[in-house]
């Protein structure tokens, strides 16, 4: 079923909208949550909650991209759960990715200052990513947004692990250089 039809069902308060969302994006949400949360049960709960959140928010929300909308909800729920569980300090795929990007994240800005620059940074980051080769861009987002491992990216993108690894390395360096050039820090 097309996304717009699913949104339409939700607007009509037809409960099959939730099933359609789960059918279409259940795996995606599970994977996203699973890359952040080491416990499969936590990830499953976040994925389920993502569909209920979507059901409760549409309407009045009318997402232009249902896929990205659900992915964001699942990711945010998983990050919240991760914070809640953080006392255990277990390493996950995404926390490993945090470490890799550390070189790009510097400075000592306080919250209001960073909030003020968030809009500018969004423009910068999306402009930077769009200027990258398609493969490099996809590897980068799959690694640092979806939290996939190098092996998973290599498999899903049908590329060698070394290629993915070196592409990520080069993209990180280019990002760091671009941020220095534009005097951007977060």
């Amino acid at each position: 079923m097309e996304d717009e039809q699913i949104v339409e069902l939700s607007f009509r308060r037809d409960g099959t909208a939730v099933k359609e969302m789960q059918d279409k994006y259940g795996k995606l949400c599970m994977e996203i949550a699973g890359h952040i949360l080491p416990d499969g049960r936590d990830a499953e709960e976040c994925a389920s909650d993502a569909f209920l959140r979507a059901w409760n928010s549409i309407p009045p929300e009318h997402p232009r991209s249902l896929k990205a909308y659900l992915a964001r909800i699942a990711r945010n729920l998983a990050l919240d759960r991760y914070d809640y569980n953080s006392a255990s300090r277990r390493s996950t795929a995404l926390t490993d990715a945090f470490e890799e990007l550390e070189g790009c994240i510097c400075g000592d800005k306080d919250e209001p200052e960073r909030a003020a620059e968030a809009g500018e940074f969004r423009t910068f980051l999306n402009g930077f990513l769009r200027a990258q080769p398609r493969d490099a861009r996809i590897y980068f987002i799959r690694r640092y947004w979806y939290g996939e491992s190098i092996e998973e990216i290599a498999c899903s993108c049908r590329a060698g692990e070394e290629k993915v690894k070196s592409s990520l390395f080069r993209t990180r360096n280019r990002l760091r250089e671009a941020m220095i050039k534009e005097n951007i820090s977060i």
Binding site: D23, H62, R114
Partner: protein, 322 residues
């Protein structure tokens, strides 16, 4: 490693890029077959989840939350949704969003652009746009008694302007499929004027009055510009949490002036700058509500000219009590 900073970095990625990353292979039948198989497997898992999750709604049809109504019915509900003068093809409806009173909505065309205007009775300012997008610009500020919001997304070609009146307990929102939020703000200004609120401030007889908002040095600055007797003026306000006596200049004017002096606007400390018979600016700070002000004029500037105009425009947020 600061994980919230990492999140700040990656939260900024556009929906379009996320979608692209999810589909690394274009037009490849083999991979499509695998993908379909995965989705089919997912259906089973998801179906089990649906059956076992206690909060999941069943496949029960309920009433459509959007109902077409007439303008008169909107008025009966206690809402007012005035339209710009050139509006056409207006269609009114209500949207049941779970609140006691449904949300009122009108879609219309104005200046070749399609708009949706919504109103909702609510106890606090909120986003009722119903639009989920990657907002490149998110501003909120006070304009008179109104709490204003403005969001703009280039990536999703969308923008909306909201205004909340605590006096009426009503939130309005005007949205358009356009990345030009200032154009939406100008249309909203007409609706706000018709509703009887004051968003912009200009003296009687002013021409070319326009209202805008922008982000400047981390502050949301609202500006009313107008022309009076051939002189261009820009009057700005911004809210700040700083109480520094050496307050910020929000005029956006970096010209070096011949004359500068300290003065006062009402009880507020002010700084005045001008060129003899040329342009000039006045900046002042009302520390009690934390509001910065500036007034620039393009010609005929003098201490008295700037102070006289400031006195006409400036209405203390806290009334005359100081």
């Amino acid at each position: 490693m600061n994980e919230s900073r990492f999140d700040t970095l990656m939260r900024s990625v556009d929906d379009g890029l996320l979608e692209e990353a999810e589909t690394p292979h274009k037009n490849n039948r083999t991979w499509k077959v695998i993908a379909y198989a995965a989705v089919a497997a997912c259906v089973c898992i998801a179906a089990v989840g649906m059956l076992t999750h206690p909060k999941a709604p069943g496949g029960v049809q309920t009433a459509n939350p959007v109902k077409e109504v007439t303008e008169a019915q909107i008025t009966e509900l206690g809402y007012s949704l005035p339209l710009p003068d050139d509006a056409k093809n207006a269609a009114y409806s209500t949207v049941d969003s779970g609140a006691a009173l449904p949300m009122a909505q009108v879609t219309f065309q104005s200046g070749g652009q399609e708009y949706t205007c919504r109103a909702l009775k609510t106890e606090s300012s909120k986003d009722i746009s119903g639009i989920s997008a990657d907002w490149a610009q998110t501003l909120s500020w006070k304009a008179g008694t109104l709490e204003m919001q403005m969001n703009e997304s280039n990536a999703d070609n969308a923008s909306w302007v909201g205004w909340y009146s605590a006096d009426d307990g009503t939130q309005w929102c005007l949205s358009a499929q356009s990345a030009d939020a200032l154009s939406v703000l100008n249309t909203a200004q007409q609706i706000v004027d018709t509703l009887g609120y004051e968003m912009e401030v200009a003296p009687e007889g002013a021409k070319d009055v326009s209202y805008s908002a922008m982000l400047q040095d981390g502050l949301t600055v609202a500006e009313t510009s107008f022309t009076l007797d051939g002189v261009k003026y820009a009057y700005r306000t911004a809210s700040t949490s700083s109480v520094d006596e050496n307050f910020a200049d929000i005029s956006g004017d970096s010209e070096k002036y011949q004359v500068s002096a300290s003065t006062q606007v009402g009880w507020c400390n002010a700084r005045i700058y001008y060129n003899m018979d040329g342009s000039g600016k006045l900046v002042w700070f009302d520390v009690v509500p934390g509001l910065l002000y500036s007034l620039t004029m393009s010609d005929g500037a003098s201490q008295s000219a700037l102070l006289d105009m400031a006195q006409q425009l400036y209405t203390p947020a806290q009334g005359d009590a100081g």
